[in-house]
Each structure stands twice: as C-alpha cells, then as structure tokens.
Assembly symmetry: C3
Homo-oligomer: 330 residues x 3
C-alpha cells in the first residue's frame, strides 16, 4: 500500500495544470480509518463540505471528466454502489459496474489479485466491496491504481465511518464536546465499531445502549479506554437520551437470538418513536446507517432532528471528496 | 403528488438562465395518463417531435448534462429500462441502474418509501418500475424529486400509452378521424386499456377484435362510452382491417386459457401475415408493444406499414421529452 | 452484412466535418477475423496504437461523445464487457449494459433479430455476446447499425484474436519472423484457433504443445498448412521454449478428461514457473487469455516478459479502435 502512490506518480506523466499531485492523498488507497491522521480527516471533511456546496449550487461538474471508476462488488450493496456511482458521475466521471461477481470470471476461479490486475488497465480507480476481511489491503498490493474499501466483511467500511462523522459535523457544527449515544446491536455492528473508534479521536463522551447479549465487545471498549474517552453502558435509552447530542441507532437482528422469545423481549425496547424524541434535546441528530426496519418509527421521519436520510446525502459528498483526492484533483 | 412541484421549486435555487421553471411540467411526477390535460398531451408530443428532429440531426446533445437518473426497477424490463437509459444519455445525462432489487437492500426488508427517500439524495429524477399497482403514487409522496412511472403492475404504464399515441401521430400525422382496431388479448392487456382510454379523448372509432374470453372489460367499455367514442366488438380481423388506420396487435398468452385446446383454436386466428396485410389500407400503421412471439409474421417486418420497431424509437423520444420537461429543461 | 454499410450511409446524413465516412470500416459489422484484408489489419493496429498513445497522454477524449453502445450479453463475460465499456467511455461515449438476458424480454421468448431491431433505435453500435455460433452474423442481417462480435459460442471472438495479435506487435514490434508456441488445451480453445489462423497470414513458425487428447484439431492444422506456415507438434514445453518469441498458454480444464487421474498426470506438465522462464529467451512475450487458474505461477507475474495483464490493456485499445472505426470517427 505504501508504495502505491510512488508507483502511480511515476506512471502518470500527463496530468494537466492545476492538479494537486502534491496532495498527500494522490494515488493513495483508502483501506481503513486508522490510516488517517487528524489532519487527513480535517482535509477530507473540508473537501466533502466543498462538494456539498458545489452540488447545492451547480449540481454536477467536470472535475473527474475522462476518469473511470470500477465498482467491483463481490457482494450486493445497492446503497453503497449507488452512492459511489452518483459521486463519480456528479464529478463528470464514468463508472464500470461489476456487480455480479458470481457471474464474472471470478466464478471460473480467478483470484482477487488477478481480477484487480486485469481491471486496472481499464480504470483510474477501483472501489471494492468484498465479504472477506482484509480483501482491500490484499488487493491494494496488486494494483498501481488507487483502491477504495467499500466494506470488507467484518473488517472495515471506512467510507461509512467517515460519512457518519461528516454527518455529525455538518448537522451540529463540531464533534468535540458532544455526547454520542450508540443504540441497538453493538456487538456485531461493524458500523458502530468503526464510528466509536473514530469518535475516540475527538473529545466526546460515549454511551452504549443495547440488550445484554449485544453489548459493545470488550476489545473495542479497551481500545477506546486507552484514548481516555469516557464510556458508559446503559440498558435503557430514556435515561441518556436527554443528554445526547447524537443518537445513533442500529438494527437488532432477530437472527442474533437463539431464542425468538428473547428477541421479542428486547426488540421493542429501543424503538425510537415521537414519544422518545420528546425526551431528546432540541438540537441533536438522530442517525441510522439504513436500511431500517422498525427501529425508528416512520412518524419520526419529518422531525428536523431525524438526520438519517441526510446521512445518505452526506455519504455522497464524502465519496466525491475521496475520489477527487485519490485522483489528485481536489 | 401535487405538492411535489412546490417543494422542488423551493429547494432548487440554482438553475441557470434559460431553464423553463415556469413550465407546468417542472418538478412534476408522471404517474398516470389521466393527469394530463389535452394541452399537456399536445405539449409533450411537440417536445417529443423536437427530440426526434434533434436526434436525427445531431444524435445527442447536452440538455441534461450533469443530471442523474435512478432507474429503479423492482421487476425486470430490459426494453423499458434501456429506453429510459438511452433517452437520458442522448440528452447528456447519466443513469444509475438499480435493476436487481432482489439483491438490493430491499431484500433486507426496506420499504419503497425509504428506498426512494435514500435515493433522492443522489439523483435528480427517479424512474420506477414496480409490480404493485399504485407504487409510483405512493413513492411520489415521499420524494421531492420528480418520479416517473415505468409501469406499476396492473396499474399504469403511462410512458407506454404516450409512446403508442405518439407513434400514431408521427406515422399518420393526426389522431382525430382515425379508426383504431385493437387485436388480441384485450382483457388482461394493460397496454391496450391505457391506449383505449387515451384515444377516447380524441375523435376516433375503436374496434375490438379478440377471442370471446379475452374481450375488453366492461369497466373500460363503459368508461369510454361516456366519452361518446364509437366502439364495436368483432371476433374476426378480416371484417375490419380494411377500414382500420391503426391495427394494434397484442399477444394472446397460452397461460390465459384453462384448456390448451381452446388456446390452439384461437391462437392462429389473429396472426398477421402478408396475406392479412393485403386487406389493409395502403396508408395505415401496424403496431405492437413488443415483444411479439408469432402474432405478427416476420414476413411482415419489411412492410412499410409495419410500425412496431419504429414504435420503440418513438418511445425514446417521448421519454426524452418527459425527462427534459420534469427537469425544467424543455 | 455486406449491405449494412450502404444502409447506414444512407440513413446518417448528419455527421459533422472531420468524420471518416470514406473509411472502409464505417458502418461495418465486425463478425470474424476472416473478413479483414491484410491492409485492414494494419489499419486497425495503427489506430489501436494511436489509441494507446492518446490514453497514455490524456487518459480519455471525446471522439465518440454523444454515441451510445449497447452491450448485449446473452452470457456473462465480465472481462469482455468491462473492456468494451472502458473503451467506449474512454472515447467519451456511453454504454447501455444489457447483461442479464435471462431477465430480459428474451426470456419471454423474443428472438435475437427482434431484440436487435428494437435496440437499434436506441444506440449507435451493438456489441453482442451469444452462446450460439453464428449469432452475430444472423443479428447483423437485421440491423442497420454496426454490430461487433464479442464471442459467439464455439464460433468466433474476433476482438480477442485481434488483441492477441496486437499484443505481439506492441510487445515485440513485429510479427513476421517470430516463433509462436501455443500451449495447453489446443483442442477446445476458441482463442488459440482464431489466433493460429490469424498468425498464419504472417511469416511465423507455430509450435503446438499439449496433452495428446487436447491437440490442435486436424481441420485447423490443414487450413494453416495451406498458408505454408511451418507447424510442429510437441508434448513438452522445455524442448521449444528456448526458441519461442511468444508462448501463449491456455488452461487445461479438468472437465475435459473422462478420467480424473489422466488430468492429474498432465495438469502439472504445462505450468509456467520461474524455472520455466529461465529457459525462455530474454526478449519474448508470455501470454494468456485469462482468467488463469494455475497454468502460470503467480511468481512469474513480475517477470517483464509476463505480458498477460498488459494483454488486457491492449484489448481496450483494440476495442477503442474498432468502435471509432465502425462509427466513422478514426
């Protein structure tokens, strides 16, 4: 990974005037949120904010005209795939969707490195979704083109974590000083793990609200403890919602419970209703990675604090920023 | 639906000079042919005709450059999907195909309103194909972006009805005064129902030619009667083809018959052959919504009156017109 | 096929200044390598080389802006589909992917000619992949738009053969005078058959290295004999690799063998390892149509003579050239 940027710089000798080839992101892979310095994060969010402004003013522009993105999805994810496609097309670039890898040559037994090495001849940047942890890091070793992790199994989904943080920033103006309450399935949710890790780099207080059997894993609690971030465990939301600047809800999946009766017992306990929202601060953000089933009542959708659909939109800006950055154009 | 346009107008404050924001179509949903006034229809067909001229002269142009369309298909329809894609791309816009909703987050249980509200952040217009009647009207309530019905079950398929009428207009120069004969399965065919309704707004004579068990439903006959349109029922085509300006053929599907022998009896009765065409007027249009199986012999394809492949082409112009209109650019 | 060009010329009266409407390729179908004169081949490879230069200098350009390609794939082929998509998009054109014909109207029983006649209204050029031999020639009879064969069953895959030859040209600077060794499954491999035929039009020496039961078919050996091209059959690679300028490896598929033990016996015999490459010339090209399984050890990938990933890239240039040529723009 670390050599990628060097390789790319060597190959590309034809970038027009105005390119940001000195940018620390040019040619880089986006594998994990851990790769970013605090400075990197500020820069990404600044560019994402600019993207938001540009889209609001002119809808789309030709920053990445002539650039090609391969959307290489080894498992389906309509939302993430559509978000990257929209991001690339709003920047004037084009997308080659490779969404059905069961049909692709991969099903004839080709390895991920071979697929990536073949694809790199066609495109300027690769977005990879893969069911196996570490797939992006592996693939990145085999291609000179920048590769962006769009989720690799129980591993990382860095663009989700970045868009979650960007949502907090855009909705509330800052991250430092906030109390963030994570609700629902904290044991298996890759999303909340990444978000908690990322938040621990700021001055926040974290609340965890979940059924007993779905608590935040010790490994992550320990990791975050080292950062000095205050963490508190709760089983009911009512006791903390009034102090929360952000409530981040995730789905409690029935299939996590051995005994269906156990599920029924807890399922209703974390449903956000208009009644719940009456307990919340006047200025706060209610977030959800979507899709939701019934963790948040649709009666809450028109509450101005309901940020989960805007969260999708912020995701597009973050992905626009990352694409522009790794292609040396932001 | 009615509030959509207002909402959209409020949000978009960045349209460049030259946009037709005063157009009665700007920001509107296309849900049903019933929503259009006669004036609306004339306007749509005028713009579609202009699109035809433009494509004939220059192939493609940048009217919708920077605009994004989500092709949200909950059931497959290659033809309709390709037609909208071609329409959008010929206008310089881009398309996000979401063709396999079984793979999408919908299969994780997400509701249509949530999907539409998530997607609207990415795109400027949504084309929706859905197996359930009323799906577009429902979805339209949840998005501020214009939504176009590309068929919702036994409900409506307004762009098909519009392209059928546009085909008659372009092929024969007018609709008033024509005799239009609908042939085949008139009972289950959504296409012929919509077309008959739309034609009843003009000065036409309608003939229905079908097997007994596949006759035009009473409900539609009654509705059309109220418009004063003459309607006549026939069981053989030979008796009316000589008076017909338009013969619109649909497929008689074997699975409609309980007894296969009944199917065999009628299946051949409405096959259009070169012999049949000898009985037809010299200037008329033979139409079919396609795909055909054997309702029209391939020996008829090169007959200049065979309009069914041109019908596909006209469909692209109608869709170009609608996209430009709802995006305020025509 | 032969009438296609005339038909197209008649229809298109709106091409801007600078178009190469006198080009012998304008409006032509690409069905088989046999259709090309030696002069044609030189011209294609010259244009492909120019495409390579252009991509290396500026990445993408607007030669085919406003042009639409239908990627009509009746069987999956991610690699070929992605290559044509990249080729079209690097030239500024757009692509309508029709990748899942099982879902398309074809599954409702529509014939290939009807599909092609319907599609031609939407696009400027059609790329067709089909499991049945002769499908492209058939389809070409029904459309006025140029159609490009992207593989039709055991029939032809002309763009693969052209990219193989272009790879040899770009890697080694010439074809005449070379010794080309084809390795692996020479019996069932459509790729090696087409390549051998194409090579026999140059001054080359051909070696065939394969298990006994997978030898080059007599029919092809006889055909090539008529061209005067020297051909030699070998069962081990070691004896000829030192004299080979090109070693073209294909996969020996287990399912070709009735007795698995027979497969195991030969499978290892043609694996290219770094040891094998020590026996090869210092300047030569190791090729493979990909995907590979283990016919070539991944330890060979970084050998500068390993040309198989570059082969993919050359494929994009050849397809860019063909698209530009048949659309009258090169």
């Amino acid at each position: 990974m670390t050599t990628t940027r060097e390789k790319e710089r060597t190959r590309s000798s034809h970038l027009p005037f105005g390119d940001q080839r000195d940018s620390p992101f040019y040619g880089r892979d986006i594998v994990s949120v851990r790769q970013f310095t605090d400075e990197d994060l500020r820069y990404i969010f600044d560019v994402a904010h600019e993207m938001r402004e540009m889209v609001s003013r002119i809808g789309a522009f030709d920053l990445l005209k002539g650039k090609l993105l391969a959307n290489l999805f080894y498992e389906p994810s309509t939302r993430t795939s559509a978000s990257f496609t929209a991001a690339m097309e709003r920047l004037g670039g084009s997308v080659i969707p490779i969404n059905e890898v069961k049909y692709s040559s991969v099903s004839k037994g080709e390895s991920l490195p071979d697929t990536v090495r073949s694809l790199e001849a066609y495109v300027d940047v690769i977005v990879l979704r893969h069911p196996e942890e570490g797939a992006t890091a592996l693939a990145a070793q085999y291609t000179k083109k920048p590769i962006i992790n769009a989720g690799d199994g129980v591993g990382e989904h860095p663009t989700q974590a970045l868009l979650d943080l960007f949502t907090i920033l855009e909705e509330l103006g800052e991250v430092d000083g906030l109390t963030v309450t994570l609700v629902g399935d904290l044991k298996y949710g890759r999303t909340v793990h990444s978000l908690a890790r990322l938040l621990s780099r700021y001055e926040v207080t974290l609340n965890y609200v979940s059924p007993d059997i779905l608590q935040m894993p010790d490994k992550i609690v320990t990791e975050i403890e080292e950062s000095g971030t205050p963490q508190a465990v709760h089983t009911d939301l009512e006791s903390v919602i009034g102090d929360s600047d952000v409530v981040y809800v995730t789905r409690v999946q029935k299939e996590r419970f051995e005994n269906p009766a156990d599920y029924e017992k807890v399922a209703g306990a974390y449903v956000i209703s208009p009644e719940t929202m009456k307990l919340a601060k006047e200025r706060m953000a209610l977030m959800h990675p979507l899709p939701r089933v019934n963790e948040i009542s649709i009666d809450v959708d028109d509450d101005p604090r309901a940020a989960y659909f805007r969260q999708m939109e912020y995701g597009m800006y973050v992905r626009m920023a990352l694409l522009a950055l790794v292609l040396g154009k932001a």
